[in-house]
Symmetry: C2
Subunit: 362 residues, 2 copies
DNA sequence: ACGAATGCCGTTACCGCTAACATATCGCAG
DNA sequence: CTGCGATATGTTAGCGGTAACGGCATTCGT
């Protein structure tokens, strides 16, 4: 599944002022061009172009005449031709793994927040966590010659890496900084995030810890969190008591099911670390429903800091992934508005905060 | 916030076969064109074009030569120029109010499912339930000359209506069919859905019914559901005992809060009808937490049939909004694959099924 | 009062690619 | 061996805009 979006920018659509008590008289057989507007208003195409783009000097009287004609005809400029002629495209390719998990929509919000004042439009492609799909989405998007690329993760196919490196436009890899970016990167260290959570859990006195997560081979960030987590456990002389993976289906439901499976199989478990908040919430609901003492008997923690958690009976421990900020900074880099004056090649690390909520003792 | 996505189509990206043990030798100062590939392979630009589009007769030997050169150089075709020359654009504009509420991503999935075999790419624009925003997003997207438009709802500004009517491409208005489409429409009758739910609730013996919903003046579908709902209540000689609206924030949390407010203010209430599943789920969790007997003392129902409900302790009554199917049918119409041979102007009504779950008596 | 600096608008040459047509090359029936 | 249809490739002319520059009035400074 792929999605792509386009929003408005500050250029006022001429249509917004159309009075249009009734639709234009002449229904257009072929689509309108600058020439039609120029003929209707008695000036050259160039002048019409200038008026519609608000560029260059045009007298108020002719500007009025041109706008009136454009409105009357219902002219919509052809950006394809414009982009070809000007060699400028106001699109920014945004390539993300999924839209259905709450995290990327928020990144998109951050991106749009910033891009909205720049005349740039985000265009989203979804890869479903497939590297091949990512490669073809990227290829497809690059063929529209966007002025920048924001892409999730640092792991790409060789061909995708090559395309990114050669594109000649700003590239920002987001979410993750544990690796080597092609150009710029904005994100958090998931390895460190995993470590931090493990340290907090150990400090709270839990010792029999289980991991529950997704079985996506290409979810590198979840993998890195687990690696960091286990690394910190090892440093404390501990190791995971149990682990459980899932794929597909309702995350909330899977969270319940996996939790039940783990607690049944390994009754000694006193902490459940989930790879995301959604399954964590499912697990939490299960525990509460079963009357398990949380966080006394069993502690829980997720990852992401999704808004949904606010609605749960008690707050799940989690770690904010800085989604909004990641989107904002990435967009700033693309639009050249980022504070550091450098031109590309920067790695911006953000630091997530651990929210202990009500599901970790202490 | 705006988003837009592009996926792959069946055209194989030449890059996928790039061996690329190392990146191309010559880092390109200016971006490559057909001419570069044609010079590198000793044939005309036209022949290169034919090879890359897999169109027309080209001998196997030259095809190989051309592909090899394209791969070696890392050539990515310029769709802007191609679209301008061929007057064909493989993009479909998809304009929706939001991406953060679980319902539209599923519509997108349906759209992509179908479009994936057609060479068409969905491009998403998000309006945040603002008519003006919708108008400018539409204007922006039309200026890229897509080959079709899928847009949520039947209510648009006058200018937007005019643009849709004049665009000269297939338009499909989705989600709702209670109104007059510009061209085609695919959706359900929300008025009827509201009525049906009211009838089921009344039949189950509930009499003191409250409504809890969003305060979005432009969420016409929620409004129509409420209208249908009240209409059916009236027919049974009933009227809403209480109502509560919210906007913004975590829907799950708002559901809790609103439910508490209503139950405190109107203790006689025996049924809570929510305008969406998310706040319904929040309400359900609240009731369970408070030890309220559901569905004995209080019944609950939402709308949408979101997957999340599967993870709740008991199943919330809801009504499936046929999201996937709506997306699929809309995409079929755009791509000319829809069964009915007609060319536009059809209204396809889908019929949601009421799932009583565990929160309505009987 | 006169050259320079503007304001306003038109002309020309592309942007990179493809439709349509033109041309070459080959095989093979007559 | 000629001729004609297939096959393979090249040539030409845009697609609908915009950058760059040019020309012609006005206005202005000194």
């Amino acid at each position: 599944m792929d999605i792509c979006g386009i929003g408005d920018n500050k250029v006022e659509t001429i249509s917004q002022a159309i009075p249009l008590s009734k639709p234009p008289i002449t229904e257009p057989r072929r689509t309108l061009t600058l020439r039609d507007v120029s003929e209707a208003s008695g000036v050259s195409e160039m002048t019409v172009s200038r008026v519609l783009r608000n560029r260059g000097d045009v007298s108020d009287s002719t500007r009025e005449r041109v706008l009136e004609a454009a409105r009357r005809l219902g002219y919509v400029p052809n950006k394809i031709a414009g982009a070809l002629a000007s060699q400028r495209v106001n699109l920014v390719a945004v390539i993300i793994p999924s839209l259905s998990n709450m995290v990327f929509p928020e990144v998109m919000t951050g991106i749009s927040d910033i891009l909205d004042d720049t005349g740039l439009q985000p265009v989203v492609g979804v890869t479903n966590y497939s590297p091949d799909r990512e490669e073809s989405v990227l290829y497809e998007m690059l063929s529209w010659r966007p002025s920048g690329v924001i892409i999730a993760g640092l792991e790409h196919t060789e061909a995708a890496q090559a395309m990114l490196a050669q594109a000649g436009i700003p590239i920002v890899e987001i979410m993750d900084i544990d690796g080597n970016p092609v150009d710029s990167a904005v994100g958090i260290s998931h390895r460190r995030a995993g470590r931090q959570m493990a340290e907090a859990i150990i400090a709270a006195g839990y010792r029999n810890i289980a991991f529950l997560g997704t079985m996506m081979p290409y979810d590198h960030r979840a993998r890195k969190r687990l690696e960091g987590f286990e690394e910190a456990l090892a440093k404390a002389g501990l190791s995971l008591v149990d682990r459980e993976f899932y794929s597909g289906g309702s995350a909330l439901l899977k969270g319940r099911e996996m939790t039940e499976a783990v607690l049944t199989r390994s009754p000694q478990v006193d902490f459940l670390y989930y790879s995301n908040d959604m399954i964590g919430a499912g697990g939490l609901l299960y525990c509460l429903h079963k009357g398990i003492d949380v966080p006394g008997q069993v502690g829980l923690a997720g990852f992401n800091g999704v808004e949904l958690l606010d609605g749960l009976p008690i707050k799940l421990a989690t770690m904010d992934a800085c989604r909004l900020e990641i989107g904002r900074v990435a967009a700033e880099i693309i639009s050249g508005k980022h504070s550091s004056g450098t031109i590309g090649g920067e790695v911006i690390e953000l630091f997530p905060t651990l929210q202990k909520g009500d599901t970790i003792r202490g």
